[in-house]
Symmetry: C2
Subunit: 247 residues, 2 copies
Amino acid sequence: MDQQQLIDYTLFLADTNLILAQRNAEWCAHGPILEQDIAITNISLDLIGQSRNFYQHAAILLGNGTTEDSLAYLRAEREFKNLLITELPNNDWAHTVLRQFVYSVYAQLLYTQLMGGNDKQIAAIAEKALKEISYHIKWSSEWVIRLGDGTEESNQRINKAIDNLWPYTGEFFNPAYYETAVKQLDFAGLQDSWTQKVTSVLEEATLSFPQNVFMHSGGKQGVHTENLGYILADLQYLQRAYPGAEW
Amino acid sequence: MDQQQLIDYTLFLADTNLILAQRNAEWCAHGPILEQDIAITNISLDLIGQSRNFYQHAAILLGNGTTEDSLAYLRAEREFKNLLITELPNNDWAHTVLRQFVYSVYAQLLYTQLMGGNDKQIAAIAEKALKEISYHIKWSSEWVIRLGDGTEESNQRINKAIDNLWPYTGEFFNPAYYETAVKQLDFAGLQDSWTQKVTSVLEEATLSFPQNVFMHSGGKQGVHTENLGYILADLQYLQRAYPGAEW
């Protein structure tokens, strides 16, 4: 694995956490009830924490005065490597919890593999994050079950979320150029374990997922939906308008 | 009227047109039918044209390398003087056409007064804009009538739009510090004529407007709703991210 691939891979991990955190943070003060408002906002803070750790690592690898802030606030849309699923609009609560669930199951399996890698810094960040991710899976899977096995409307909403989000789960297992160089990653094993875990929760929720759907990809390579531009406009505006501003 | 008041007044006219244009432009490719998609987008272009004329005038008054672009793209939220009603979200088609109607009736009366003013440039811009504004009133009033006197749902939607938007119409007639210096402005006459015209169209649409509601204000003085920050983030992002970029 060369240095550029390692940097790109670290940025992929950082960007994915940052953009999902930004989306979840939109729920702040808009959650369905106060306790869940705090829960989704706390998950957002966990993801920001993870993204900061990865950005700090990438900044050191890049050198030349690069900082976590310059990576988050001063890169353009095509430089962002986040998974497409993280940039999709929140839509409703069902979409939000389903996305968190399918992503967190993926992240748990991925980070477990990363703990055995050569880059000690990534391994340490992954190990630390896993404690938080266990909670994210517990929280989001309980919501998926509650909605699937709930009222007629909640069942319709979570089914709609499955239909809309499923085509974006294939990107988890579709390696980008920088991922093929990460030797300890086993994409086939990742996909098998993910499918097994997700299926068991969906079955408990009386739900199933569509087979043979077209899978979108591109985010990992910097090719995004139109949503990312709007997210970055919000996220980066302050630093773009007042360059170098600090708290 | 001192020079600063004239500049602020010109910016109020420019900002109001720009922000309403930006909101209407969000309908581009999302209009209910193709012909109306083109109509609302054309209205947006008319308003951008008016805002450019006012910005160009303000830029000359300001000097020191100020341009229409620097005024639109590089001022902060608190410097914008647009009416609050222009920055509210589009919501649905009923809100959009009602806002255009109440604003355009106000603009027609205001610009007619401005034609008689001492500033020949503002008078000339106002005279030119009036031709476009007549069409905006015709188009939007026909929609208000169609929705008010239409189906049960369309009637409910336009009534909801009236309830939501009415508290923002008082700002039309609530003079800011720079407006009190514009001698030819007759705010009482403006309000009477506006109320008469609006009432006659609402009556034809089988609608009425609420009495004695609290009226919001602040936009003219640079005190905005949270919506404006998001609009400026979208509108200014490119110029903030790539300073000095030109087509």
